[in-house]
Amino acid sequence: MVNIEDLKAEAKRILKGGNVKYIIGYERPSNAWKANPVFARTPEDVDRLVWDPSCIHNLVRFVVDEKRRKAKEKPVDSRPIGVVVKGCDSRGIVVLIQEKFIERMDVFLIGVSCESTGVVDERKLAKKTVGTTVLKVKFGERMNYVVTTEDGILDIPAADIIADRCLECIASFPVVSDHLLGEKSKRDVPKPFQSVEKMESLPTKGKWDFWEDQLRKCVRCYACRSVCPMCYCDECVVDTINFAVTPETTAEEKAQRIKWLEKSPADSENIFYHLVRAIHLAGRCIDCGECERACPVNIPLRMLNKKMEKEAKELFGYDVGFDAEKPALMSCYLDGDPGDFIR
């Protein structure tokens, strides 16, 4: 069990020592059960830190922001930033290091183990608490969550309201950290790809009908891209204009901007965007599930990324986010890579 006091103690220690610039953790606002990211700079801030099943966010996303901020910073404060990371989040750090976007010393990782459970799925919880308002969610003693509502306390088996991604999680504790809290409890996941397999069993038409129906809902708010720690490109295929422009950028370079797709939220444009996102995350997505969670119209985006994760694993034996030393999925090959699909 992660002891929040230990977490706070460690956070205070590194802040006091001035070892870190600030610490990205979780706090819970007075008026909601859900935790929010918080950027703790003082011991007082640290006292607001929490760790409970509502700590859904992948805070590694803000490591990306920090790199951008640092680029403009004068004078540069090159101290690391502290980050509270779950198992999935920590694998995001590994990928960022693998892609040389950050260096290991840029971050001080306070690892929290999800142990045998994980974080809650807001929509699942909502269904379990119709007609009342949730005030607080806590880890129970054994595989359960204690949910405090306006009309009393509920004891809900974790399995009922845990996020899908946690059901398929292959790293319930951080694979890299500087200070680890909680047990390194190995959990065996018999079916890490069950959600995808269900999808795969559908006939071609069934698959298309499903996705057409889902992607039609997309309003292109790009929350999926914005919340993703791996979507750190300065420019994205869906952007309408060059961001990465300097006074040196020539008119030609600007003219090279390709209009792959329209801004209109039409099925064909939406699917193009999501296909590109899926292929660009192949071998990089660490299944923190943030894209799916952030989506305001509940498109099952994990199902795209998870498919790529599955193929990377099954076709090429590639695991994402465990080893920063090995080459990226798309920048290596094996002589024995399957070629049976080739004529």
């Binding site: 606002p29 008026n31 909601a32 859900k34 935790a35 929010n36 990211p37 918080v38 950027f39 966010h57 996303r61 803000f62 922001d65 929509r123 909502a126 269904k127 308002t133 889902q214 809902k217 309003v219 292109r220 708010c221 790009y222 929350a223 891209r225 914005s226 919340v227 952007d239 309408t240 204009i241 060059n242 961001f243 422009v245 300097t246 006074p247 950028t249 600007k254 329209e262 801004k263 209109s264 939220p265 039409a266 943030e290 969670r293 952030a294 305001p296 119209v297 509940n298």
Partner: protein, 346 residues
């Protein structure tokens, strides 16, 4: 002229409105949105706050403005594309959303009258549903001069009395809907009227969120343009478009040419939603971006809603629906932000 409609007659009322396109909140994959009604729900209208507001009907995310085609000898043939005017009814609209329509009217009805908007908007009859209990934990309409049973912008206000709806027709448009099936509507008994008054009164006490002394905010904002406050507040913003795309009052758009064929050049000019929260919203082709970071973009969002709009239209550009709070992936809470502005020292 107020009426009473039995809930089990609701479906029949809709049948009588066959000549209209009928929208109502519907649930798909645990998400509520306004969709065309295929088969009326016998339980009547869902008492919910949709994720996507009704603005998508009067101000669609994609609007075709005109088509262009390369003529034989130089020059282009342009053909106007105006939206069709099939009469439409939106049921179950929340009063905050109706108010939002009024605010959007101001924008599209100012010195330049936006024909595309008005063609659609005028074709719509708005049938509201009073919020007897807040449909969202983040409702705060009262704080921004709204009300859970407000009638502003509505043609009809329905109040749920259990087995019946209390029907207030507020405009001719509304009357017309009632007349379309007048036999279904009974005159209310006096006690029903008083009951409605009571429910409306109680509903105002049930809101969980509020934003007091908002009137101080516009002045405060003027002094805070360069405040580091915005950096701190926007730290966790991820620059997605949820807060604005799903805001019933946000109405910014982008205009693009969708080229269908390059020879002969052929295509359409379309307008699509855009948002001040996207970096390319203000990006110049020179590479200069007057709103370079998320701090500037959060500031813009707050300033627009609580300062600029007030200056131009004497209204807050916010009706307290709470969507941006509920749906923000990182929990940025407009109430908290505005309160902090209000109490800001500088």
């Amino acid at each position: 002229m107020d009426k009473i409609l039995a809930k089990n007659d609701f479906a029949r009322w809709l049948e009588a409105l066959a000549s209209y396109r009928l929208y109502a909140p519907q649930n798909k994959d645990d998400v509520w949105t306004y969709e065309l009604i295929e088969s009326p729900d016998s339980r009547g209208l869902a008492d919910v706050m949709t994720a996507v507001p009704a603005k998508k009907i009067v101000f669609p995310q994609r609007e075709e403005l005109f088509a262009f085609e390369e003529g034989d000898e130089a020059g282009y043939a342009l053909s106007e594309l105006l939206p069709g005017e099939k009469p439409t009814v939106i049921f179950g609209l929340r009063p905050c959303e109706a108010k939002a329509v009024i605010l959007t009217d101001l924008v599209f009805g100012g010195e330049f009258v936006d024909e595309y908007y008005w063609k659609r908007r005028n074709a719509v009859t708005f049938v509201g549903l009073a919020c007897l209990k807040p449909p969202s934990p983040n409702c705060f309409c009262l704080s921004v001069n709204g009300s859970p049973h407000g009638t502003e912008g509505l043609d009809i206000l329905l109040t749920d009395l259990g087995d019946t709806y209390y029907v207030e027709s507020l405009t001719e448009k509304g009357e017309k809907l009632v007349k379309a099936a007048s036999d279904l509507f009974a005159d209310p008994k006096p006690d029903e009227r008083t009951r409605v008054m009571r429910l409306h009164g109680e509903s105002e006490k049930k809101l969980r969120r509020s934003l007091s002394r908002i009137e101080d905010v516009p002045e405060k904002l003027k002094g805070m343009f360069d405040s580091p406050f915005w950096d701190a507040e926007s730290m966790s913003c991820i620059r997605c478009g949820i807060c604005t795309y799903l805001c019933p009052t946000c109405h910014c758009f982008d205009i693009n040419d969708e080229v269908e064929s390059s020879s002969p050049l052929q295509g359409r000019r379309v307008r699509t939603w855009d948002t001040c929260q996207f970096p390319d919203f203000t990006m110049h082709s020179s590479g200069h971006n007057p709103r370079p970071d998320k701090a500037a973009r959060l500031r813009q969002r707050i300033n627009h809603k609580f300062q600029y709009f007030v200056e131009v239209w004497q209204n807050y550009q916010c009706t307290g629906c709470g969507r941006c709070i509920t749906l923000c992936p990182v929990g940025i809470d407009i109430i908290n932000v505005v309160e902090k502005v209000r109490d800001h020292a500088g």
